[in-house]
């Protein structure tokens, strides 16, 4: 069935594009004396004398050749292989959208849940307004604004990394309002929470700014340890509850182990560090997590293992980020960067000397920064609205009342009964979004000067290059169809009431 749809839509777009494009346009108006010959050559090369519906089957033959090991998407107008061009572009595009999509999903769902739990509160209204605003933003406009203010402004700030008082107070007031409205409570509690958040934020920002931390950021072992302990508490609280002491001690011991291994691990973080070592360390921390979870309790081991592994992975993540942050200063002192670390265009700084793992990693992370923020802003809104609506729907169900009536804690009701079921319909929108994001990236790539699928697409349309266009189309719609299939399968796996087929 999916195959038929792919066939149909490729037939449709092929003919549409063939009718809409005119590869001879340039030659027609050309005054070259040999223009007739050129036209004839082009007609032969592109088989323009064959009507588009028949030419389509020629193209299809190349695609279907993939089944017998002879995949062929044809040649571009400049006689390169389309498959090669796309092969180069895909990893770049995926790198561009993957982080943003994941970030948007995580943030969107979190905010959506909080707004649903605080329905009709000020926070809810503010977030609703914000998500509608984000929904209405054209990405190319946001991108230019981000470039101007976030990148250039931040670089200017780094030249003299001291926060001015209005900024410091403004940020602190924002933090205070944010946390007090998220946490909620009675009026006096809200004021108390505002006060705590405001002063903590102001103090930290003041210290960071006075010590010129922003120009030479680092966490250091103690802050890493504190953050890791925080992670352990939060994750345990959300997954099994703090009252489950055994799992809590398991998570905390993972944190302590992370602290103990902080210095030894630094020996591994050399210039020659490679992705392979990274994955090795990743696997090692996962293993530590699983072991800790397994031995921490005998009851409900699955949940315990999930909790401690997450804590272990996040702790490793913090240690890794700490190392990257400590690269920041020497990175921005290199000639290629010259104290302006946040870039506005491109995928990587070509002037940067290769050979230092941390420099190149930080460099590509920074190049990803602006596009990721832009894409996240755009797709964040959809997730907030959707997860909010979905959770509210679930919270009205009878089984939630039953769960409450049984005397389960609010945490269990929300995390185990409501949240999980609210996530099921989200699989559909995630699949659709992932496919759609490739389309959105066409514009993003243009603004940020990335050379991925979007650039190929622009080239194909601008240069009236049918084969290239069909190549891009083939990849994106295959991805879309595949994403839909995965969503359907996931859906039926997650929700046993749904049966696909007869």
């Amino acid at each position: 069935m999916l195959f038929v749809i792919l066939l149909g839509s490729s037939f449709l777009i092929y003919n549409l594009a063939a009718i809409a494009s005119d590869p001879l346009e340039e030659l027609r108006v050309s005054s070259d004396p040999k223009v007739k010959q050129q036209i004839l050559v082009l007609i032969r090369d592109l088989q323009l004398n064959v009507p588009p519906p028949l030419r389509y089957f020629n193209w299809l033959k190349g695609v279907l050749g993939g089944f017998v090991g002879d995949f062929n998407l044809g040649l571009t107008r400049s006689h390169e292989s389309v498959a090669d061009a796309i092969g180069h572009a895909i990893p770049i595009s995926i790198r561009l959208v993957l982080g943003a999509t994941i970030l948007a999903i995580v943030l969107g769902i979190t905010v959506g849940i909080v707004t649903a739990l605080r329905q009709y509160s000020k926070f809810d209204y503010a977030m609703t307004f914000l998500s509608f605003l984000f929904f209405s933003l054209p990405i190319f406009w946001v991108a230019v604004l981000l470039k101007e203010y976030l990148a250039i402004g931040f670089n200017d700030f780094l030249a003299d990394p001291v926060l001015s008082w209005p900024w410091l107070l403004g940020l602190s007031v924002f933090a205070g309002v944010f946390w007090s409205s998220v946490l909620g409570g009675s009026r006096s509690q809200v004021f108390l929470k505002f006060g705590i958040a405001f002063s903590a934020n102001a103090l930290v920002l003041f210290l960071l700014s006075e010590t010129h931390w922003f120009a030479q950021p680092a966490l250091g072992p103690l802050v890493v340890f504190a953050m890791s302990l925080g992670v352990a508490f939060v994750v345990t609280h959300l997954s099994v509850g703090l009252s489950n002491r055994k799992v809590l001690y398991g998570s905390l011991s993972v944190s302590v182990l992370g602290f103990a291994l902080y210095l030894p691990v630094q020996q591994l973080f050399t210039k020659q560090f490679s992705d392979l070592t990274l994955w090795g360390l990743f696997a090692a921390s996962l293993l530590v997590g699983i072991t800790a979870g397994y031995f921490s309790t005998k009851i409900d081991r699955g949940a315990a293992i999930r909790t401690t592994s997450l804590v272990a992975l996040l702790t490793f993540g913090i240690i890794y980020v700490d190392r990257l942050m400590r690269t920041w200063k020497s990175y921005s002192e290199t000639d290629a960067i010259n104290y302006r670390p946040v870039p506005t265009v491109g995928e990587a700084n070509s002037l940067l000397e290769p050979g230092n793992y941390w420099f190149t990693t930080l460099d590509s992370a920074l190049h990803l920064f602006l596009p990721t923020v832009a894409l996240t802003i755009i797709s964040f809104a959809g997730y907030v609205r959707f997860s909010r609506g979905s959770l509210l729907e679930v919270l009205n169900q009878d089984y939630i009342r039953t769960a409450r009536a049984k005397g389960l804690t609010e945490r269990t009701v929300i995390m185990r009964h409501a949240f999980r079921n609210a996530l099921i319909p989200l699989t559909t929108i995630i699949a659709a979004d992932f496919a759609g994001v490739i389309g959105g990236a066409i514009i993003t790539e243009r603004v940020f000067g990335w050379v991925g699928m979007g650039t190929l697409f622009n080239k194909a349309i601008g240069g009236q290059d049918l084969n290239l266009l069909m190549g891009v189309f083939f990849v994106t719609s295959s991805l879309a169809v595949l994403a839909n299939l995965v969503a359907d399968l996931l859906y039926s796996a997650l929700d046993p009431r749904i049966r696909i087929g007869k």
Partner: protein, 356 residues
């Protein structure tokens, strides 16, 4: 968690709800709910204001810039007039700045006023207010065309396939699948590249021909469930024709779904058009749209930011208004949606019951 409601309070809320809807038709209830949606009402007023302002300033224009049918607007400059660069209101070394002054005299010393070029001038001296108004007009026009064609096609195709089912449904829904698989931007670019220079009206029409797929799926679903209901059986037994059943019995019941998704279709349409024009595959010079204005002047952001701000603001304002209207409509049409009962309502109801 929110405070749990006690049984009498719930009964009281229901009574308020019932009392409010007593004696009203479904349409009246929906309309009242919509009027009460504050954000949506502000957006309706805002959108009407923007549309009237833009259309009256620039004058109506159909067809392409080279070959247009126009009515004059009230703004003196047109987008082809090239005026001398004025340095009024400018910082040192700049020309063509916006002369719009919204701050009254007691704040910044100069009085409020439009000045000669309220939105400034572009790099060759054209009045930017005229350009933005024309651009907004073209963008709104495309949006409305896409919306109405999409609504018409989507409703008809969805209604036919949902009502008649069988092979008609199979064929139409496969067609929908074919189009829906292709990312909108790809279809839009393929079409826009070809017909962009034929003027905004045609561009809108062609884009509209591919914008109906989502709506038709929704309408089909609605028709599939409504056609099994008792009132349809009753109408059929009474001898109503298919056409009468579709138009008089089913369609009015599906109209909520249609209206809501058409609003969302329109907010998507304006973002699609501006995106295409930004890429250069939509409205092309000498025509202007909000997207093409941004694309044309984005490089001058650091020196002359106003060339970038105004069109962007308009896009955001239009799309935001439409989204809020769509949200208000959805709430109004949703039968499960209950009005939030405030403390004041409860007090009022309490008093009324005591009086009685």
């Amino acid at each position: 968690m929110a405070k749990k409601k006690t049984a009498p309070a719930v009964a009281g809320e229901n009574a308020i709800e019932l009392q409010e809807t007593a004696g009203l038709s479904q349409n009246q209830i929906v309309f009242r709910r919509f009027l009460r949606h504050r954000a949506a009402m502000i957006s309706v007023i805002g959108l009407l204001f923007i549309v009237l302002f833009v259309f009256s300033a620039a004058g109506l224009r159909f067809g392409s810039e080279r070959n247009a049918a126009t009515t004059p607007g009230w703004w003196p400059y047109s987008i082809t007039d090239i005026a001398d660069m004025s340095s009024e209101n400018c910082a040192e070394g700049l020309v063509g700045c916006p002369t719009l002054d919204v701050l009254p005299a007691f704040i910044d010393g100069t009085g409020m006023g439009l000045g000669k070029h309220p939105f400034g001038q572009d790099d060759i001296g054209r009045d930017y207010f005229a350009l933005v108004m024309r651009g907004a007009e073209q963008s709104i026009q495309i949006m409305l065309i896409i919306g109405s064609i999409g609504a018409l096609l989507g409703t008809v195709i969805g209604a036919i396939s949902g009502f008649f089912r069988g092979w008609i449904d199979a064929v139409l829904m496969r067609l929908t699948d074919f189009i829906i698989t292709v990312p909108t931007l790809i279809i839009g670019a393929v079409i826009g590249h070809r017909v962009g220079n034929l003027g905004v009206t045609l561009l809108g029409v062609f884009l509209g021909l591919f914008a109906w797929t989502g709506l038709s799926r929704l309408v089909r679903g609605e028709f599939l469930s409504l056609r099994e209901r008792e009132f349809v059986d009753a109408a059929r037994v009474a001898g109503a024709s298919n056409r009468r059943i579709i138009f008089k019995h089913i369609l009015p019941n599906a109209v909520g779904v249609i209206i809501v998704s058409v609003t969302l279709l329109m907010s998507g349409a304006i973002l699609l058009e501006t995106g295409l024009s930004y890429l250069g595959f939509g409205v092309v010079s000498p025509d202007v749209s909000l997207g093409s204005l941004i694309s044309q002047y984005q490089t001058s952001f650091s020196v002359r930011p106003w060339l970038f701000w105004w069109p962007g603001f308009l896009i955001v304002a239009i799309a935001l208004c439409i989204n809020f209207i769509g949200d208000g409509l959805r709430d109004a049409f949703d039968p499960r949606q209950k009005r939030r009962i405030t403390k004041r309502d409860l007090v009022k109801a309490d008093k009324a019951s005591k009086d009685a």
